[in-house]
Structures are given as C-alpha cells and as structure tokens.
C-alpha cells in the first residue's frame, strides 16, 4: 500500500443527512441517481441540479448546487461544501411512491419524454413516474405473492440471492430490457419492453437457460445489448433478432462476474468487475471478432477473447458495481464491497491499444498501469463500519456535469463530490 493511491482530496464535497416529513425506517434499501436538470446560477457561480434518492418505496428529489469553479484553477478543498445548503433544514416529502415495493434502481428519462423516471423494484417490477403525479403512470408488475412460484424470493433461505433484477435503456430511450430471476432455478428471464409508442408494453420474453440470475443488462446503442449472468457469461443480443444471443463472452476465471457497464460515449467499450476485485476493460468489436477468428484455435474450441487491459482493487476488495462516465470516454468508477468508490481513467490503457492489432492484449495489471489509471479513491467518511457495504446503484455519475458523483451510504448520508486528481504532468517531470 505504499504508493498506489494519489492523495485523496476533493475539488468539492458536500454531504446531507436528509430529514423526512414522515418518520421512516432508515434501514430500508436505498438507491441514487441524478436528474439531468441543470440551471446555471451565475451569481454564486453554481449549477443547480437535483439528486433523485430512493429509500424503500419512496422517491425524493433533493436539490443541490454544484460549484462551477469559474475561471479559477481547480484546487483541493478540505472543507465540506454547501451544495445542500438550500435543503438542509427542510424535511423532505416523497415526490413519487411505488407502494408495496422496494426501489432498487432508477433511471431518469428527462423532460423530453412522456415520463420522467423509470424505477425498478427488488422483485423486478417496473414503474414509470411523471412530474406532478405521485403514483406510477405505467407499471410492469411481476407477480410475487406467496402463491406464485416466485415465493422462493419471499422465503428466508436466500432471498437476496434470487431477488436480483436490473434493466437497461437503449440510447434513444425507446426500448427497455429488464432481467429477473424466473423463480425456479436454472433459468433467468429477459423482457424487452417498449418505452416509445406504448410504454410498459412487453414486446418479448427471452429465456436464458442455464442461469439463475442475470444481474446486469446494458445497451451499447439503440439495439445491441448485453446481459450478464451468474454463469460468468455475457450474452450479446440485438432487440430485433430472434431469441438467441448474437455472440457470447465467457470469462470463468477471476471469480464471479458481478457487474458490467457499457460506455455511452464510445458505443464500443465496456468494463466488467469480479468478486475477486479484478476490473477488465473490453472492446466489444474485439470480443465479437474473436468469435469468428480461427487463427489460434480449432473449430469447436472456445474463442480467444482478450480484454484491452485489467486492473484490480487492492486488498481484493470485490467489485460490486461499475459505471462509465456519461461525459468522458475514459472515466469509470467501480464500487468495492468495502463501499469504497474507485475512480479510473482508461486513457493510459487506451493509448497503448490499437483495435487492428490485438497481439499484445491484454495489458496485464502492472504497477505502472495501475498508478496511471487509478486516479482517486473515495472512502466515504468515518461512519462506515467494517461490514459489507457496497451495493449496486448507490453511486451515480452526473449525466451532464463533468466529474460529479453522488453517493448514498447505508445510514442515508447523501454526498456529492468531485475528486481532485493530480494531473499526469507531475509524473512527467
């Protein structure tokens, strides 16, 4: 642990322990995302935006003001900022409520759409919300009563293992694909759902045999998406093709595949995370080409699919979630099982990567690569205990403002921060 991390200081960090109008049980599941509202406020050189925060079945919108810094050089700031000054004293009341469900993921659609927000519950149901209407305007309800075969989820044997669901939104926001366990073992289900003409209409149901849960679904463009299942296989599909993956990526080493995310900036890059703390950067074109390339293998052998580069969380901190930045093709955050948030910059790895020449792949985790790429670690303050904290959907990039991250802790502490990263010119001298 000598010289791996650069000094962690923030360009900005603000935290808020929200207070609520109604008494709430703060141990409920939480998730967080940003809205894409931004209102520049020239006077105090801040951008007004808002955080969408869910706790149990309630969804809150928390206003926050991000300092823009203006023309000043960014400098490390040790004091906590006052992004939440306007709402600190104000108890929050729920903007939307998804009654009877626990919200596990939210995706902000913005004002150009008919609906404002899609929320997914732990059992895989989806709800669409609209500004000004507290209850969902559309629902895709998964039957999960004790009488259905999903009752397994309500048993206390392994409820959290099976209650894994996720959804991905196509780039044009017209199609949603959601994954869920089918209740019975050895099969998970993907549903292709319309979000354009008739939101919430289920267009197609795809069964993924041989898997119990597909924990992550992400789109690469308007049509291509991938689902990541507990058999450590990423399956790539096109919403328009029949019920068979276009190609697959099987990665049985490095422990369990826990998460992946596709870059919305490049359409090609994606990152996978493993329970052993390994993080891999891939090019989807390379992965696909390898499935038809027989140079180094016989027909019948597994394709040779190599990642661009791999990295690791030190101390074997398992990867719980990965998220590509919406504004930069290089920046990625990974969330560790410890609750740490790792900021990566893939520029160094990509500068040594040529999509035409894959002979030198992968770039294995070296001290050099790791130092060049790991820009920042957010440890989330002293409130943390040693127990497992990291979860999906508790860390989120701002969709528009460069570099800002929102996180929520188990004790409902909401933070926004922008890391202060030492630029590489220091190393060059």
């Amino acid at each position: 642990m000598t010289k791996i991390y650069k000094p962690s200081s923030y360009e900005h960090i603000s935290s808020l322990k929200p207070r609520f109008i109604s008494r709430v049980d703060s141990h409920q599941d939480k998730s967080i995302t940003f809205s894409n509202k931004i209102v520049p406020d020239k006077d105090d050189s801040a951008l007004k935006t808002s955080i969408i925060y869910s706790q149990g079945s309630d969804i809150y919108e928390i206003d926050c003001a991000l300092p823009m810094g203006g023309s000043n050089e960014p400098k490390p700031e040790n004091e906590y900022g006052d992004a939440f000054a306007a709402v600190e004293k104000k108890p929050l009341s729920a903007k939307w409520i998804y009654s009877g469900e626990t919200v596990s993921k939210m995706e902000y659609l913005g004002n150009s759409n008919e609906t404002t927000l899609v929320a997914m519950s732990k059992n895989g149901s989806l709800a669409w919300f609209k500004d000004g209407i507290k209850v969902p305007v559309h629902i895709v309800q998964e039957m999960m009563g004790p009488a259905t075969s999903f009752a397994a989820m309500h048993s206390h044997v392994r409820p959290n293992d099976l209650a894994v669901s996720d959804f991905g939104l196509s780039f044009d926001s017209e199609t949603i694909v959601k994954s869920q366990a089918s209740g019975s073992a050895e099969e998970s289900i993907l549903k292709v759902i319309d979000n354009a003409g008739k939101p919430s209409e289920i267009l197609r149901t795809i069964r993924v045999p041989g898997t119990t849960v597909a924990h992550t679904v992400r789109f690469f463009d308007n049509h291509l998406f991938a689902s990541c299942s507990d058999d450590n296989v990423l399956r790539f599909w096109d919403v328009r093709t029949a019920d068979k993956p276009l190609f697959i990526l099987s990665d049985p080493q490095n422990g369990r595949l826990t998460s992946f995310d596709a870059s919305t900036v490049t359409n090609n890059l994606f990152v996978t995370g493993f329970s052993t703390g390994v993080v891999k950067l891939w090019d989807v074109r390379g992965v696909e080409n390898a499935t038809t390339d027989f140079t180094n293998r016989q027909n019948g052998e597994e394709p040779v699919q190599k990642e661009i580069a791999n990295f690791y969380h030190s101390g074997g901190d398992s990867v719980e979630d990965v998220q590509f930045s919406y504004t930069s093709p290089y920046e990625v955050v990974t969330v560790g099982g410890s609750g740490n948030v790792y900021h990566w910059d893939m520029e160094y790895a990509l500068s040594n990567y040529d999509e035409e020449d894959t002979s030198n792949l992968p770039q294995d985790a070296s001290e050099d690569l790791q130092t060049q790429s790991l820009k920042f670690v957010h440890t989330g303050g002293p409130r943390r205990e040693a127990k497992q904290r990291g979860k999906k959907n508790i860390v989120s990039w701002h969709p528009v403002v460069d570099g800002y991250i929102a996180t929520v802790d188990d004790d409902s502490l909401v933070s926004v921060y922008k890391p202060f990263t030492v630029e590489t010119e220091v190393d060059e001298e």
Partner: protein, 465 residues
C-alpha cells in the same frame, strides 16, 4: 378559368385541366449504347439536397434514376419562383409568380439535356426495382433493391455496392421458379421499408415455393447488411409492400389481402393484423412519416382507403359489436376511388404534408389527393381519444362520397401523349421530393423523365386574395 375561381363546382374540380406550376421532361442520353431501353426496368427517386441560387433564380436538386442495373444521378434546376413559398418578396411579384400555370415544358433539365449520362452506380447482374435515398447517413448514400430481392448499399464516389444482401437465385436453387417463364413477374415481387431513424430495414420477398413469403430484418446502423432475423409469413405467396410507422412498428401487405403489423423487437408473430377481403386485391400501401398513424391502401379495383393505425389496433380488442371469435370490425377513415376503375399500383404519402398523398393508376396516371377537407370536417370532436375515428366512420359525419371525391382529388397527372395503352403503371416510377412541397418526379417506359409541381385549386384561392 378565371370565371370559375369564385365558386368552383365539384364537377369542375374533377375535370380540372392539368395545370402545372412547373413541368419539365427530357429523355436522357447515355454514354454507353443502350439496346432495347424500353424493356429495361426503371425506377426514380429524389435526393434530398437542395441548393437555392437566388442570382440565377434557380433551385437545384437531383434525381436518382435507375435503368436495369445502372443508376444515374440527374441534376435538375427548377425556377426558384415556382417554389419560393413565403411572401418575403413584394406581393405583386408573388402573384406574378403564381400567375403562370405553366402549360409548356420547363427547362429544368436544360443543363443535362445534351450531356450523355454515365452510370454513377452499377449493381451488376441485377435489375434495380427500388431505391431509397439515405438522408445524412455517414456510411452509405442509397439502398437499392433488385427484382429478386437482393439489396445493395452504395456510397457517393464508389461505383460498386459497399454492402450486399444477396439472395441466391440461380437455376439450381428453389428460386429457379423466378427464372422460369411461367410467372416470373408474379413471383419476383419484393419490397423494403426503412425505419424512421434509418437504423433498421425490413425486406420482403417470395420464398420461391408457394404459400410462404419471407420478411428479413436487416441492420442499417452498426453493421449494414447484417441479417438480424427472418420471419416466415405463412399462407402468402408474395408480400409486396413493407412500410414502417416509426422506429419499430411496421406493416407488411401480402397477397392474402392482409396487412400484418409487426414490431421489430417482438418475436415472429404479428402484433395485430388487418384483413380486407373486399374491393379486389390489395396492391399497395404507404404510411405517413409525419403523423406516424395514418396509412393508405390501394386495391386492384381502384379503391383507395385511408386508415388510422390506432383505430385498426383498437378494433382488434374491442368486443362491443362482436362476439369473441368473430373478426374484428376495422373501418377505414374514408374511402376514395380512381374513376373508371383504374387499378391502384402504387401509393405514396407526401413527406412534407400529413394530408397529401398520390396514387398511381395502372394507366400510368398520377392522382394527387389532399385530405385536408376531410380532416377539417371531422375536427369538431376531441381528437385525443383513440376510438374517435371508429365512431366517425360508423356515424354519418363523413361527407357524401361524391363530394369528398371532388374535394380531395386535387390534381391529376396523365403522363405523356406518347403513352400507349399497354400496362404502364409500375411501382417506384413516381416519387415525392422529400423537402420541396408538392414536387414530383416520374419516369415512364420510354425513359421520359419528368418533374412537375401541380397547380391546384388551392393556388387559385391564394391567387384570389
């Protein structure tokens, strides 16, 4: 005519002389000698680029013209005055421009008239049956379909296709039926439709064997030419038309007189369907790219029907007037006809107006329709509700057929004098300009290429003011 402009009767309108804001025609000459040009299959479409040149008073656009396997680009200089829409100029000048219903041929093609054309693109060994211009696509400029259902993507500057979806049609395949002389034209029917965002293409073709036609969903974004899915349409021999409503919903029209509606994302079953067993064979249909909801069907008996896809879908789940198990009651918004039973071979919605479309008759005549009169008559109730069109057609708010016919048939282009009585009307030989209002291009069997803009009654009204 001037005495009629105040109170034109429906009769007058129907027998309205064909006046043009502008019409230009020419017979292209070619660098290579073409034998038997008359027998080659021809299609035509517009490119969407327009260049206004105020100094010379010209509006330049270009046509894409295919003849057999060759595709030509023909520049066309239109007089700006006939197309300048707004009244920025003095009113007098505007009226002056409006004043000439041009009865003699214009000279839009004067620059190319004496120039011998050489092919811009060649789709060797195939006969181009349809072309679609890909507006602002980075990868390719046009998609061409051959008679046997193959597709080729072309790019500016490269003479040969850059992507191909080839259908095997040799004598040794089951498609050999098409090469036999028994009924080659009947089976060699294919079509394609492009989604609104141009990312997905669906093409139809005969299977070769009877009783099964095929739809193929083809990628046009990440990997153009990649066949994503093949759908069999059982019980049909040919599916002659495929059109998209938006990015996902499309309709396919087959020879069993059924339009099947599909979503590219659903599995291989239609979302809903519309069967129209009356009025002869369904021969053509087209969707409005402006409303995403309206579509028009044409039939071999000359009947034209305008539909609302929302009402068609709603009727499939509405059990008010029928038992479960009975066929749904799907009613059109309005029904029109070609006089003299001229069968409909092609219909195309305007790309600039939600109320206009043209139909092409088997005689080669082009009929221009404007449904604005019909829509204005039906404006009184709330348009929001999706079942309103159903109600309307079952009540008597629809104007009498004669009146409607007179009010909606705006114009009629009878082609050229030198047409013979042979079967002339074909698909894809008439096209709207994608940007310039009301501008249409046509090609006939004798290679005569025309562009025209009709001079309709609306213009008389504008002239009155």
């Amino acid at each position: 005519m001037s005495q009629n402009k105040g109170r034109p009767s429906a009769l007058w309108r129907r027998s309205a002389p064909s006046l043009y804001h502008h019409i230009s025609s020419f017979k292209p000459k070619f660098i290579t000698r073409m034998d038997d040009v008359e027998r080659l299959h021809k299609t035509i479409t517009f490119r969407s680029e327009i260049i206004p040149d105020k100094e010379r008073g010209l509006l330049t656009t270009s046509l894409l013209y295919s003849q057999g396997s060759d595709i030509y680009e023909i520049d066309c200089n239109l007089p700006l005055g006939s197309f300048y829409k707004d009244g920025k100029k003095g009113k007098g000048e505007r009226i002056e421009n409006k004043k000439f219903p041009d009865s003699k041929d214009g000279d839009a093609f004067s620059e190319v008239e004496n120039k011998k054309l050489s092919a811009k693109w060649v789709y060797s060994g195939e006969t181009v049956a349809k072309m679609s211009y890909l507006d602002d696509s980075e990868d390719s400029t046009i998609i061409a379909m051959s008679k046997n259902g193959s597709l080729a993507w072309f790019r500016d500057g490269i003479k040969v296709p850059i992507h191909i979806v080839q259908e095997m049609m040799g004598p040794s395949t089951s498609f050999a039926a098409m090469h036999s002389h028994v009924r080659p034209d009947d089976l060699a029917v294919s079509d394609f439709g492009l989604s609104e965002n141009l990312e997905t293409l669906v093409k139809s073709q005969a299977n070769g064997s009877e009783e099964d036609s095929i739809l193929k969903i083809v990628d046009n974004s990440g990997k153009p030419g990649d066949i994503l899915r093949t759908i069999h349409v059982p019980g049909t021999t040919v599916t002659h038309t495929v059109r998209f409503f938006d990015n996902h919903l499309f309709g396919s029209c087959s020879d069993d007189n059924t339009i099947r509606f599909w979503d590219v994302r659903t599995s291989a079953k239609p979302v809903f369907s519309l069967t129209e067993p009356q009025n002869g064979r369904l021969t053509a249909f087209d969707t409005s790219q402006i409303t995403n909801e309206l579509f028009v069907t044409g039939s071999s008996t000359g009947v034209i029907k305008l539909w609302d896809v929302r009402a068609v879908e709603f009727a499939t789940t509405d059990l008010t007037y029928r038992q479960n198990g009975e066929d749904p009651i799907q009613n059109e918004l309005v029904s029109l006809y070609h006089s003299g039973g001229d069968s409909v071979v092609d219909v195309q919605f305007s790309q600039t107006s939600s109320s206009e479309f043209f139909t092409v008759g088997n005689t080669g005549n082009v009929y221009h329709w404007d449904m604005e009169y019909f829509f204005s008559k039906n404006d009184d109730d709330n348009e929001e509700s999706t079942n309103v069109p159903v109600k309307k057609t079952t009540t008597s708010t629809v104007p009498a057929p004669e009146e409607l016919q007179g009010q909606c048939l705006k114009f009629f282009h009878s082609g050229n004098n030198n047409r013979s009585t042979a079967k002339f009307g074909k698909k894809n030989t008439v096209a709207w300009h994608p940007i310039i209002d009301d501008l249409v291009c046509t090609v006939d069997d004798s290679t005569l290429v025309s562009v025209y803009k009709p001079f309709t009654l609306r213009d008389f009204d504008a002239f009155d003011e």
